[in-house]
Each structure stands twice: as C-alpha cells, then as structure tokens.
Amino acid sequence: MIPMEHVLILGAALFAIGMYGVLARRNAVLILLSVELMLNAVNLNLIAFNVYLRPNPATGMVFSVFVIVIAAAEAGLALAIILRLFRNRRTANVDEADLLKW
C-alpha cells in the first residue's frame, strides 16, 4: 500500500515547484503553466484525502473534476488576455507590463 503521506508529499512538491515557477518566470504563459502545476497538486491532495480517509461519498473527486474544469477555463481566458497583451505590446513578458505602479 502507498502511504497517504507520500501522496501528499508528492502534491506538496508539485505545489512548491509551481509556486516557484510563478515567482521566478517572467513570461506570462509560463506563469500560467506554473499555476496549472499548483492546481494539479491540489487535485492530488483532494483525491488522496477522498480515497484514504473518506471513501464515501466521492466529494473530493467531484471537487477535483471542478478544479480541472475551472483550470481549463482559466487557461482559456488567461491566454486570451496574454494574446491581447501581445497584440498591444508585442511582448508576453510580465515585467515589461508595468505601466501601472506606485
């Protein structure tokens, strides 16, 4: 049997890597990819908890279905905004988009 803690730790690792990506990357698409990693970690958590702790009902799994759906929608909308940024500015680098500050 796989100990649940190990699944959670895998999730934590993916989450932290995703968070690193958000902080370190300057390309908007890459930031988005990192967020997807984090959401994936959340799903891992939800499914592990559901399977190990409360096998009945399948709330955690339903939750993760919703997470996947919203993540997909998020990707779509975010990419549209990034596309718009690229059209307006010819860049997808987020640190070049700093008209608004202070």
Binding site: M1, I2, P3, M4, E5, H6, V7, I9, L10, A12, A13, L14, F15, A16, I17, G18, M19, Y20, L23, A24, R25, R26, N27, V29, L30, L32, L33, E36, L37, N40, N43, I47, A48, F49, N50, V51, Y52, R54, N56, A58, M61, V62, S64, V65, I68, V69, I70, A71, A72, A73, A75, G76, L77, L79, A80, L83, R84, R90, N93, D95
Partner: protein
C-alpha cells in the same frame, strides 16, 4: 523505507519522474519544452490517480488537462510567436523564488508529517490495520446499488452538486465570451 508491493514501486517511480518533469516545466529555457514537460507531469499524475483507484479522474486528467489545456497553450505560443522574442524566460526574482519555494515545501512537508491523519477518519469507517488501506470508492445509492468511482462521481455530480455544475457551465460561458471578445480581431473597435 520498506517497499511492500509493486504498487509502491510504481508510485515512487511515477512520483520521481513527475517531480523531475515539474522541475523541467519551471526551469526549461524554451517555452515549448516547458509546455511538453507539463504534459508529462500531468500524465504521470494521471498514473498516480490510477494507483489510487480513481480511474475516471485519470481519464479526465489526460483528456482535458494533458490534451486540451496543453494544446491551447501550444496554440497560444504559436500564435504569439513568443519563441521569437529574445531574452531570458526567468525574471530577476529567481534566487528569492528558490528560497521561497524551498520554504514552502519545508512548511508543507513538516505539516504533512506532523499531522496524525488517522484522526481525520471518522470512527465508523476507520480500518483496523494501519497504514490505511486503499479501497475502491463505493457509494451507496438510494436503490442500494454499489458503484465504481465513475458511477460515484457521476451520481454526486448530478445530485449533490447539480447547482455548482450548472454554475460551472456559466463560468465556462463567461470565459468563452470573454476569451472570444478579447482575442478577436480589431476591425470593429472604437477609440
């Protein structure tokens, strides 16, 4: 660490490769590589789901995430020709980000290892042996049938979570409208 079964061996393999692929996502210096690494991570995670007896979710993961989202990203990358833009993909904050990432993973691992998860299991279905046994998700329906996880998810999704399901469709609709509006051509624009 003692290895008890093939299941475990497969899990650790998947885990190690998934983490490596995730690192690839955030460290790769080519945006296409990053996207491909993400696909790898997501598919490997789907494998973990199978190990956890969540077959339906692994399917969704592969189709929606690994397929749909990644292709969307690819499209975006192609259309915007981000690859043509020169310059590094990492920002100035990289060193701090490494520290922050390590700090977060430390916090989370400490939290996970210091928590007695057993106590979260309701006394009624707490299994006798420890560590906890993976068991197939079984849901008792009104009519007393036993179902697989696919059935269980479908059942809950359309009974308990019917309203969130509807709302999620609204979210998708808004995202769709927004994405089309924002990404569309500029022929009709004012200013």
């Amino acid at each position: 660490m003692q290895i008890h079964s093939t299941e475990q061996v497969v899990f650790y393999l998947l885990a190690v490769v998934a983490v490596a692929a995730a690192l690839g996502v955030v460290f790769a210096q080519d945006i296409i590589h990053s996207a491909l690494f993400l696909v790898v991570t997501l598919i490997l995670t789907a494998g973990v789901y199978v190990l956890l007896s969540a077959e339906f979710l692994s399917l969704v993961q592969v189709l929606v995430y690994g397929g749909g989202v990644s292709i969307l990203v690819m499209f975006a990358v192609m259309i915007t020709r981000v690859r043509d833009a020169r310059g590094p993909l990492d920002g100035a904050q990289k060193p701090i980000a490494i520290v922050a990432g390590l700090a977060i993973v430390t916090v989370l691992v400490l939290m996970i290892s210091r928590t007695e998860w057993q106590q979260a299991i309701p006394a009624v279905n707490r299994p006798d042996e420890s560590p906890v046994r993976v068991q197939r998700v079984i849901t008792q329906t009104d009519k007393g049938q036993l179902m697989s996880d696919t059935d269980a998810i479908g059942h809950d999704l359309f009974t308990t979570f019917a309203v969130p399901f509807e709302v999620a469709s609204l979210v998708l609709l808004v995202a769709l409208v927004g994405a089309i509006y924002l990404a569309r051509g500029e022929e009709d624009e004012v200013t």
